[in-house]
Symmetry: C2
Amino acid sequence: MIDKLIEKIEQKQNPTVVGLDTSFDYLPDEMREGVNNFAGAADAIVAFNKKLVDAVADIVPAVKVQIAYYEMYGVEGMRAFYDTCRYAESKGLIVMADAKRNDIGATAECYAKAYLGETVVGGKTYTAFDSHFLTVNGYLGSDGIKPFLGWMQKRDKGIFVLVKTSNKSSGELQDMKLENGKTVYEYMGALVEEWGKDSIGKYGYSDVGAVVGATHPVQAEILRREMPHTFFLIPGYGAQGGTADDLKVCFDKNGRGGIVNSSRGILCAYRQEKYKGLSFDEAARKACEDMKADLNRAIFG
Amino acid sequence: MIDKLIEKIEQKQNPTVVGLDTSFDYLPDEMREGVNNFAGAADAIVAFNKKLVDAVADIVPAVKVQIAYYEMYGVEGMRAFYDTCRYAESKGLIVMADAKRNDIGATAECYAKAYLGETVVGGKTYTAFDSHFLTVNGYLGSDGIKPFLGWMQKRDKGIFVLVKTSNKSSGELQDMKLENGKTVYEYMGALVEEWGKDSIGKYGYSDVGAVVGATHPVQAEILRREMPHTFFLIPGYGAQGGTADDLKVCFDKNGRGGIVNSSRGILCAYRQEKYKGLSFDEAARKACEDMKADLNRAIFG
């Protein structure tokens, strides 16, 4: 699956993933008017997401759907998550479920089935929230990750494991030094390289990627060096303060190795002064174009 | 909320939480017959859970609903999760959502709203998957935890943070030694004590608990000493190999300090030789009684 992602990025010449962290509150007034329950909110969110996907599908390779923004609208929100993933996939986009799931053996297997695999009921096989990639948290160690690797292989999928997250306090645990002189995030990075070693594709990257925040360029540079086979999902650009120049260290000499997420910067572009007068979908497209130019300048410039 | 949990445990004289990790495959043949889609599976799971809750509600204080087992049945599975939580609550049980959620600031806030808080749509306030307790993963540090603390305080809720998980490979990261001589799990434990310091109740425990596996008694004993204000949610009893004698180190001199989970040992008790001939709900009740006796023997014996 990582090869497909890399090829989509190169085809569009755009290492951007659009984060569909679609809070109902982000919608334009006219889409929120008269809506006052979960079902209505879910419908409005799906309508917004579809229009946004239509506006950007030809210029971006992927969307990342942040499931927390859907879970807060209950069962109806989960339906909106499902509909959003299906629609984005139907438009040829790679779909990343950003769910940071984690558990032990048998339970991790359930999450793996839910997002990457299949569930059998009465002899029939179904998919639940089928995605191309899933983000996972590796705090529980290998037997919390292996169920994902199994389905990854069976159904050509990928995962991104949290290594160095983009938030300010990520260092509290992740930057702690171990006895051997390495940090916790470097150690997690080494585990990720190990988990990926059997799924390295033709561009030298494996189906087991890592989440590495754009807001921590020093750590990102270390990780790029220590994780030569690991593709990075890079949050933190824009709203969180990471710049294209900060994150260029995540890319290799061929300009490969990462995909950069922007969520609010695209979803809420229509509220920015510089995109004033544009509809939300026009503004989102313009923001994607601007981001593409900014990233390409920094990575290849 | 921790005081309420402790009082329920004492009232029932039973530090057991029943894990509703209800895979469709665990149901008796007659409940699975003819069911071959997600909606049918979800209905059957809810029917099973309700009967099981009815059978044990007077002898156990709480249920832990493992959401992975519901997510694998898609949107219908999420409805089953919702219905299960609501039913258990209506029977006077404390409901723990075992979801191990984790993310950064604004996104963690969405998860906090979904499980502990409220979501506002069009000026109206709703709850999504309202629970008394939620399990969370602390790998991202304080700003991934604080949104949960906020709702915890506002709506009298609690969380359990993963510290030392029950699986075999939990040591890969969690047992690593830091430069200061402490392990990663001890360091996480110290963060948990810090996060809980403003919510210590009348029994000396805070609303910020910790997940500490019954399968690691040496580490559990260290944590009990280093985390005097932290209540433990203890998985790993039974099917995973942890015994009552292993986990008694989690309890203080008053016999307080933890609640022990059993899932398959109760859900699938009817398949065990020793409960042969009983219906699934009768067997589950008997298994709860046996577990209660076993725990009380070890803790107070």
